[in-house]
């Protein structure tokens, strides 16, 4: 009985060969990763976020290192829906990985038009809804941070889409559990937790911001504990709903932590920028862990985490980790 564990996961109808996807904006345009990683061994590639109209992107510099992370802003640079569907989508598909298309917008109409254009495209395995941009119709800074708009947009996309729909929830929210419940009630297949939280990088010697747009987003290993908490809370609140962990996952151990916390799959983003084969090595790390624990699939890791009793009922077995001197 030494059969290798299967890494296959089923995310509400999207069957992936491994539970490790490349996060939005880190998988290239179908030309870049080919020589550096076997894309057939990647769970799925999430496209960069596509908008209806072309976006030329923000001013440089667009990235700066921070402790255990990067502060960045690209301004959602993308060629626009039509050009993406006619070229980039097909190119990424040729690599052999399944494709999740990330769609972004500033109005309900834009999300509807994107979903409509992607309907019936055989290359699209799922849609991920980018919800961290501004809301032009209601004049709010973060579209997906409000239940009313989240429900409206996720609902519209989910009703139209023939493929699974994942809502990528904003990275700085007062109540992620309520937002996740709202997305699921609106019809989302599952949720991706979390989008990059807003961040600022400053350069003291020059007294200037580190990136051209001044305001940016934080990505990288610094995010892992925030991701774990969000995944844990949401998985407890909405059991049975596919949760994809994204933010700070770099190693197989990181991914196993997310699965233990309740994730069904993970995304690696910043890690891919340093190690283009990160999605494959993280999956290998999960496989090793499954084998060591004699588990047959990643789904069996889910729910293996038992929260500690909140009171001191088990105090003898669980001594204070920092004893008094």
């Amino acid at each position: 009985m030494t059969a290798a564990p299967s890494l296959t996961v089923d995310l509400g109808g999207m069957i992936l060969p491994t539970p490790v996807m490349i996060a939005a904006g880190c998988g290239g345009t179908g030309r870049e990763l080919g020589g550096l990683v076997d894309l057939r061994r990647v769970g799925a590639i999430v496209s960069r976020t596509i908008t209806v109209a072309e976006r030329v992107g923000s001013d440089v510099p667009r990235i700066a290192e921070s402790p255990a992370g990067v502060v960045w802003e690209t301004g959602l640079q993308n060629p626009g829906l039509d050009v993406f569907v006619a070229g980039e989508l097909l190119r990424i598909a040729r690599g052999g990985a399944q494709i999740v298309v990330s769609i972004g917008g500033t109005s309900l109409e834009e999300y509807v038009r994107m979903t409509s254009a992607l309907q019936g495209r055989p290359e699209v395995a799922a849609i991920e809804i980018h919800l961290s941009g501004p809301d032009d119709e209601l004049d709010r800074p973060v579209l997906g941070a409000h239940q009313d708009r989240l429900f409206e947009i996720v609902g519209a996309v989910a009703r139209m889409s023939l493929v699974p729909v994942f809502a990528k929830l904003p990275g700085a929210s007062d109540d992620i559990v309520t937002l996740a419940r709202t997305a699921v009630r609106a019809g989302a297949t599952g949720v991706t937790l979390l989008a990059s939280p807003p961040a600022l990088g400053l350069d003291v010697t020059r007294g200037r911001p580190r990136i051209g747009t001044v305001r940016g987003w934080l990505s990288g290993p610094a995010l892992k504990p925030i991701t774990l908490r969000a995944v844990f809370d949401v998985a407890q609140a909405v059991p049975g709903v596919p949760v994809i962990a994204s933010g700070g996952i770099r190693t197989g151990e990181d991914a196993v932590e997310c699965l233990l916390a309740g994730a069904w799959a993970v995304q690696v983003g910043t890690a891919t920028l340093t190690d283009p084969s990160a999605a494959v090595t993280v999956a290998q790390g999960i496989a090793r862990r499954l084998k060591a624990a004699r588990l047959a699939s990643p789904a069996e890791l889910r729910g293996r985490l038992r929260p500690q009793e909140p009171s001191g009922a088990d105090a003898d077995a669980d001594p204070d980790p920092v004893p008094a001197p």
Binding site: G28, V60, P67, A68, R208
Partner: protein
Amino acid sequence: MKRARAEILSTRKIGAYQSITLVAPEIAERSRPGQFLAIAMPEGREFVLRRHFSIHQASRRGGWAGTLEFVVDPASGAGTGWLAGAIAHEFLDVIGPLGKSFSYPKRLTNCLLVAEGRGAASLFFLAQELVARHKRVDMILGGSTLETVFKPIDAKRLAQTVAVMTADGSLGERGGVLDALPDAIARAEAEVVYAVAPAPILVAVASFCRTNRLPAQVAVEERMGCGFGLCNTCAVPVARKDRSGYDNLRACIDGPVFDPARILWDRWLDGTQAAPATEPVGTIPGGGDGA
């Protein structure tokens, strides 16, 4: 583009810089002047991204076949400082060769190569290839002090003439590389100009070449996340050929070599000037702020 675990064959100090030679045959045999390497940093909280360095030498045959040389400025940040301290027989995780290379002129023969600081590293590689194609090569090398002028003696072996410019006058003439440009172009009867330098110098080279109707190629320095086209952060605004606007091209994949006449310098320079002086994460190929 290949990824390799490459052994450091040797590392030596050249003026203010450290030059590192790697054994990486698969990368060396594909390398062309202007291309660069992305080198992984050690595990640790300060270092998330790779660092990027233009290729100074890639030996395809002879006793050094299969080796690659690149040049780092230890003063430019903690990551580069770590690399400068690496010793022979250590292994580095290297991806390369990356980016588009300089192209060689087919008919024109007189080439002027202009470099500030560490930017000269890739121009030596270019000079060799040009000389091998029977082109005339002249060079202008600049730096803040004599320590930061890269290999002025070696330049004299490759080039017909070499003008050396330092800000403090400690080597060659006092001044910047731009001061030497008009004379050098006249003396060399230059027909094409190649430049690697911080953006403010490239702007002036571009403007000079446009005025004098000289074709030019420049290798830009822009902050990079990955170096192989994934993250879309090393943007350079380049005018479209049909003049219908511009695209933010990626310096790593679409560059780092561009036609300076098509770069929207004003738009791009605003941003580059916001970049911190101390840590040129993923700038290529010069890195240092030069003067």
